[in-house]
């Protein structure tokens, strides 16, 4: 499996994400936001957490218009896999690759803690290492994770089984407790929680490992 991790000014989970991909067996290349193309043969692009461009204007808005994001969008459009975590999820909604938007947390506070996350579907390369209904412990660390989409979009997401994860105890006001969603072809996942921060025994939890192992398992056999 070949993975690329995008690095923006202000990304701070890029190396953690690369470590998690590598631990699952991936060959990882870091790509800078000014790069105009992804390395040849990349199977999956990771858009990491952090505070790209200082969260100026809106979280992810400037990053979504950076040169590399044109290539990420083209990669997604031709059926490539993309995993956006936290700020990466915000970037994916700002590019329009995933529907909806992430608003300021309903309680206005930045929240950094481990939360219970319910796996809503095992039908994706990201979640097939879990069983639908599993509750896993994954850290969140965000100020703007309050998922919003109009009613029609929400119904589509739920009707098409595209809610990947939901919060067991909604920390941020997200509609329908949504923590992560899939694209219509199920190859793009955006999620606010950080599976890469629960992927090693040294992290204090390993519930995120199954996500990276499932991706690697699928993409190495393709």
């Amino acid at each position: 499996m070949r993975a690329a991790v995008v690095v923006f000014p202000g990304s701070n989970c890029d190396r953690d994400l690369a470590v998690a991909f590598r631990a699952a067996g991936a060959d990882v290349t870091m790509v800078w936001h000014k790069d105009t193309s992804l390395p040849d043969g990349v199977d999956i692009v990771g858009v990491p957490g952090g505070f790209s461009f200082g969260d100026y204007l809106r979280c992810g808005a400037i990053a979504a218009n950076s040169p590399i994001c044109q290539s990420v969008k083209a990669h997604a459009d031709r059926g490539g896999y993309v995993l956006g975590i936290c700020n990466g999820f915000q970037v994916l909604t700002e590019t329009g690759i995933l529907p909806g938007a992430l608003l300021r947390n309903a309680g206005l506070k930045y929240i950094c803690k481990t939360i219970g996350l319910k796996v809503e579907t095992a039908q994706s390369i990201y979640t097939e290492g879990y069983t639908a209904g599993d509750v896993i412990d994954i850290p969140i660390a965000h100020h703007d994770g309050n998922y919003f989409a109009d009613q029609t979009t929400l119904e589509t997401l739920i009707g098409e089984d595209r809610v990947a994860f939901s919060y067991t105890d909604n920390p941020n006001g997200s509609l329908r407790d949504i923590a992560g969603i899939l694209s219509s072809n199920r190859r793009v996942l955006g999620m606010m929680p950080h599976p890469e921060r629960a992927a090693d025994t040294g992290h204090g939890g390993t519930d995120g490992q199954a996500l990276f192992r499932a991706i690697a398992g699928q993409l190495t056999t393709v």
């Binding site: 808005a61 218009n65 909604t93 608003l103 300021r104 947390n105 309680g107 006001g173």
Partner: protein, 76 residues
């Protein structure tokens, strides 16, 4: 040549910051505030010949996220 862009969260989108400001005003004894919505104002210093349509395109592409925000352009 200048343009002013007003960006607001759409009606129906929860505005937790506006709500916090409303609470704070109430705590200060200002009882007459039924609601607060907080947005942003963006001032653009434009080259001559830049049209309102150009500014609208800027809003659609970057300045506003039309999933959650509405915008209004004032050309001056």
């Amino acid at each position: 040549m200048k343009a002013t862009v007003h960006v607001m969260l759409k009606t129906g989108v929860l505005d937790p910051q506006g709500e916090a400001v409303r609470h704070a005003l109430g705590a200060l004894g200002f009882d007459g505030v039924n609601g607060v919505r907080q947005g942003k104002v963006i001032e653009l210093d434009l080259a001559e010949g830049t049209s309102e349509a150009d500014v609208t395109a800027m809003c659609e592409k970057l300045l506003a996220n039309t999933v959650i925000e509405s915008y209004r352009v004032e050309m001056a």
